[in-house]
């Protein structure tokens, strides 16, 4: 992993296990202040965010700082990124600053792969277009493992705009490596049949109730209106057919958990009652974001 982290698809299962195990050590102990480490003292991490992000960017920043690294964040608004500078020029400018790693978020699938091909610096993909969001899948796995002893054999329903979701892709790749049973569900034009072939153990249904029946984990996705080029489903029908409501939870396992990568649209893909219910682990996901990203940074730079 010294080369960076571009995606989950080509990551070894053992590597994932090592990160998840290490992340456990970085989880905050109850009512204890965090002790700042100096594992990465003197190292420079550049957070390069071409696309708006709150939780991912801040949690990468916190993770870097808790490990003692110097972290700077460059975001699209107010930088040369928004002034028409090409990716190649940005890349050359950054290389001249000699960072030890670059954390990158970009609206184009494959943008970090492009950067990685041309820069001898480890690149950490913080979400590329509609492709992958590897650290999100790692923190989701960490969150599931905080509630279940193993991922093996779990039934995970992923519901929503799957085709445009980098979170879904990374989660599918990760969960599949651990032998989970993955059910994808959403409007047909957002869940193309080819998705069932990208990893073993994936199946598709267009019926939300069937997807949730017997599930251990329900992952809801945000409807990404900004990525849809046209109306892929009739306006106004989304919540009725693919929004998660309290009555759906009765179909899942009694101790099933509900996840969402955020930001949530209450009343669109998830009802407020579910988002705020005991089943929801959405805030645990946010907490684990820092721990998992510390483990990733340590593994790449430590």
């Amino acid at each position: 992993m010294r080369a960076g982290l571009l995606g989950i698809e080509h990551l070894e299962r053992a590597e994932i296990e090592a990160i998840l195990e290490r992340a456990k050590a970085f989880q905050p102990a109850q009512n204890q202040p965090f002790v700042k480490l100096d594992t990465l003292r003197g190292r420079l991490i550049v957070n390069l965010f071409f696309e708006a992000s709150t939780r991912t960017r801040t949690s990468f920043e916190i993770a870097a700082k808790r490990l003692g690294a110097d972290a700077i964040s460059i975001t699209a608004a107010g930088s040369s990124l928004s002034k028409g500078e090409s990716l190649v020029d940005t890349l050359n400018t950054l290389a001249a600053m000699r960072p030890d790693a670059i954390v990158m978020r970009h609206s184009a699938s494959g943008a970090p792969h492009f950067l990685a091909r041309h820069l001898p610096i480890p690149i950490i993909n913080a979400g590329d277009g509609t492709h992958e969001h590897p650290t999100q899948a790692l923190l989701d796995a960490r969150t599931i493992l905080d509630h279940r002893p193993t991922l093996e054999g779990l039934r995970v329903a992923i519901i929503g705009d799957i085709v445009h979701s980098r979170v879904a892709r990374s989660n599918i790749f990760l969960l599949s490596k651990f032998g989970a049973e993955i059910v994808l569900c959403g409007p047909a034009s957002l869940v193309p049949p080819e998705l069932a072939r990208i990893a073993p153990g994936v199946r598709i249904t267009y019926d939300m109730r069937e997807a949730i029946r017997g599930a251990d984990v329900i992952m809801m996705l945000r409807v990404q209106l900004e990525r849809q080029q046209e109306a892929a489903f009739p306006a106004g029908e989304y919540f009725q057919f693919y929004g998660l409501r309290l009555e759906h939870l009765e179909l899942a396992k009694p101790d099933a958990i509900v996840m969402h990568p955020g930001p949530i649209n209450r009343g669109r893909e998830i009802s407020s009652e579910v988002a705020d219910s005991q089943r929801s682990v959405i805030l645990n996901q946010v907490e684990n974001g820092v721990a998992v990203r510390m483990a990733v940074l340590e593994r790449i730079l430590g």
Partner: protein, 430 residues
């Protein structure tokens, strides 16, 4: 011009089936004699021992980019790359700036070619004004000025009524209509073939049906109008099957495939390398296999490069921002040998046909034979030469090739245009 004697080569001519070791004597740009042990005093001798001497290769689909996009390619650099790839003739696609939609542009291209081109340049005129798909271009006067076909390549005519009128008009002028079959509504926003790999990579898809629908429409219009149709760069199995069926019914339809569509698939996009991004996109392995099968069965008439230069600055961007197209003149023969001949799919003679008499038939050209009196356009290649393609040494102004670093068995050695050796593989390049 001194006489030229090409000695002791394996002379292969798909037009007649001729396949013998022989000498070829050329005088004043024409083939004078073909036979064993020819003698000619004062002739320049070229030793072709161990080499194949074939009719000059014709590329039906080349983007020379001049006028208007000289930063990407010029008639001079594009034809340099052509002859280095063994092509003696290239068809220049009309999507230049201005678009080749009237006789003045056609004449300009031919004048520039007269001054700078190493290969023969045959202009293809646009179907509609500015290739906007609305009003028919000056088809008749372009033909009179030297256009050999019409096409709105890259910006296909969406309006079926306009296409019908174009076909009717083209038929009257005995011009072949070359169509880049793509339903622009179905392909809109797409970056690669729609399938498992596009879903895996999170890239927007261009479904095969975007091509198939337009092939189906065009075939129906051919039935209606009787025009000759040539389907450019077929990439989908379904499209090829429809073309095969139409040919069986005797419709005047021909088609070409590109080297990249028979050598690569959508799985090759895993690295997000924009040198694998073109239209139509690299399709599935099943489509690729069907194209190769179509070459074997004879449904495919020609191999054409769709040489589409784009400068590095345009290809060095986010994948979704990069323009479509790859260069291919210099690698076409190597790729075709590797994919078709070394695999035992087709004999060498059929391969030569795909580069010579095949495309000549598509255009209705008489040239392309190796008989006395014919224009001496010859492609001389070594079927066993081992060479590695280094795109940075390409004659093309642009370096967007998916085949950089590939090692080939078999490649061009010398190219003769109108009786003159215009390119020869130098020792250090070998």
């Amino acid at each position: 011009m001194p006489k030229l004697l090409i000695r002791n080569g394996r002379v292969m001519d798909p037009a007649t089936g001729f396949d013998q070791v022989a000498d070829v004597l050329i005088k004043s740009g024409l083939i004078v004699r073909i036979g064993p042990n020819l003698h000619a005093t004062g002739a320049i001798a070229f030793d072709a021992t161990g080499l194949v001497v074939a009719p000059g290769f014709i590329d039906l689909h080349t983007h020379l980019r001049e006028p208007g996009y000289e930063h990407a390619e010029t008639i001079e650099t594009g034809t340099k790359a052509a002859v280095a790839g063994g092509f003696t003739t290239v068809c220049a696609m009309p999507n230049t700036k201005p678009v080749n939609d009237d006789a003045a542009v056609t004449r300009y291209i031919l004048e520039q070619a007269e001054r700078f081109a190493l290969a023969n340049v045959l202009p293809v005129g646009a179907i509609t004004e500015n290739s906007e798909g609305e009003r028919l271009a000056a088809i008749g006067s372009m033909k009179a000025a030297g256009a050999v076909a019409i096409s709105d390549d890259g910006r296909p005519v969406m309006n079926s009524r306009v296409m019908r009128r174009a076909m009717e008009f083209a038929r009257a002028f005995d011009l072949v209509v070359i169509d880049h079959c793509e339903d622009l509504n179905l392909s809109a926003g797409g970056d690669m073939h729609e399938g498992e790999h596009s879903v895996r990579l999170g890239l927007r898809g261009i479904p095969s049906v975007a091509e198939d629908i337009m092939v189906a429409r065009d075939l129906l219009l051919v039935e209606l109008t009787g025009a000759r149709l040539h389907v450019a760069h077929v990439s989908s199995a379904r499209s090829l099957a429809m073309i095969a069926e139409a040919k069986q019914r005797g419709l005047p339809v021909t088609c070409e495939v590109t080297p990249h569509h028979i050598a690569l698939t959508d799985a090759d996009l895993a690295g997000y390398d924009s040198n694998f991004k073109m239209k139509p996109p690299l399709r599935s392995a099943a489509d690729r296999d069907a194209l190769i099968e179509g070459i074997v069965s004879g449904v495919v008439d020609a191999i054409a490069t769709d040489h589409a230069p784009h400068p590095g600055s345009e290809k060095m961007q986010e994948f979704e921002k990069c323009p479509f197209g790859v260069i291919g003149l210099e690698t076409a023969l190597g790729v075709a040998l590797k994919t078709l001949v070394h695999t035992g799919k087709i004999p060498l003679m059929r391969l030569i046909e795909l580069f010579t008499t095949g495309p000549a038939r598509v255009l209705g050209l008489s040239r392309a034979g190796l008989e006395p009196g014919a224009v001496a356009d010859l492609t001389i290649f070594d079927p066993e030469l081992i060479w590695t393609y280094d795109v940075n040494r390409s004659f093309s102004k642009s370096k967007n090739s998916p085949f950089d670093g590939w090692t080939f068995r078999g490649g061009p050695v010398a190219t003769v245009v109108k009786g003159r050796i215009v390119w020869q593989r130098s020792q250090e390049r070998g």
